[in-house]
Symmetry: C2
Amino acid sequence: MRVAVVAPSRSLPQEAAEEVEALARKAGVELVIDPRCFLAEGHFAGSDQARADAFVSAANDPSFDAIWFARGGYGACRILDRVLPQLGEAAEAKTYLGYSDGGYLLAALDRNGIGHSVHGSMLGDVLRDGGEKAIEQCLMFLSSGQAEEPAVVLNLAVLASLVATPYLPDLNGRTLIIEEVDEHLYAIDRMLFTAFSSGRLAGVKGLKLGRINMVPENDIDFGQTAEEIVRAHCACGEIPFLGHADVGHDVENKVVPWR
Amino acid sequence: MRVAVVAPSRSLPQEAAEEVEALARKAGVELVIDPRCFLAEGHFAGSDQARADAFVSAANDPSFDAIWFARGGYGACRILDRVLPQLGEAAEAKTYLGYSDGGYLLAALDRNGIGHSVHGSMLGDVLRDGGEKAIEQCLMFLSSGQAEEPAVVLNLAVLASLVATPYLPDLNGRTLIIEEVDEHLYAIDRMLFTAFSSGRLAGVKGLKLGRINMVPENDIDFGQTAEEIVRAHCACGEIPFLGHADVGHDVENKVVPWR
């Protein structure tokens, strides 16, 4: 299993790269970290062009079995238009592993039938307390294919910002898992309003709730929990609520193939 | 000029009501503040049903010339489906004044050709430092019609959460003004990605930038100013950037009719 690491969003801290390289050696996964992961231009791991080029060169290289996103944070949506038209045959045979902001790429690839999108932690997550656990689950998946039940997993903010665009995956007949971090409950309600009002969730087999972590305190209590908010939207939108999923911005985050 | 005040989002502080009533008396505007503006249920000025009922009863009352939203904060999108089907002839002759979260109603009313949507401060804004100024501009508009050049004015978060939905106004041939408060620059870039990628801005005559206030500091500098971000999206989306507009979450916020 030969895996390329690229950074479509923010740059990868050197320290995270070294820790993950050591874990990968132990797991027998050959990791090739593109040096452009360490570029820094404003918010991003290099310019949009540099990040797109790094992604395309790894995706089109038949010697790689998988592409693992270095880190989230914001930026992947800015390179979709540069990346998609350049992907060739080798890109179609690959696994793409990431989540959070990386969901933009997972979604756009899935929508276009390119490769296999897989939800899982990214290299930057190794810097969390106990972050080895998140990384080891990914390495286990990369070497053995071991993973949870398939579903489409998206960060709620990414989903809400995708429903209006041509990059939303075809959700018909699929299970949708959402997760979120660092968003007020009113913002979660608003993002669900957008997702459900778009009509683009029609046909979803059911919705599962990943973790909603680190909800900031507001000057007023919302009056509903995150789960109550999600259940209310599901009831109103006539999409079955299927309970909880073991994913989120934390070290317990599981690997979930999008098939 | 007889004006009803209703609260589609958060409740109105009693103190704000009293200050604005005094200013309205001086300006010769008859203000009728619906007592349901002071309800409190979780985040909102009463349940969705109570807020929708208050809005509908005022909108359908032919003795009112205008409806002025009490305050923003979040909640108006939750009542659109309850409000729209109930609006009658009297609602069509009215002016609707507000902004920020109130933009959901302004948008849905405009989209359905109901009444005249107008961007302007709300009663809660009187509690800002120097907030009388914001209120006096609204009272001047309500009594004399004095206002800025017409345009569609939307908070960027409201616009981004509307583009996927059936409530987005027809923007064809109109000038669009956006403003924002308390959002990171990466979130502003993401919302513009959504708005522009939706294809729903095609036909917009031009975009003006209102104020982007109180941008929180991030752990990394974005590398572009808000204006540079907006200009880049306009250039890429082939929508003329028409400069600045004197609107925003502050006491200088001007009245702009949506026509």
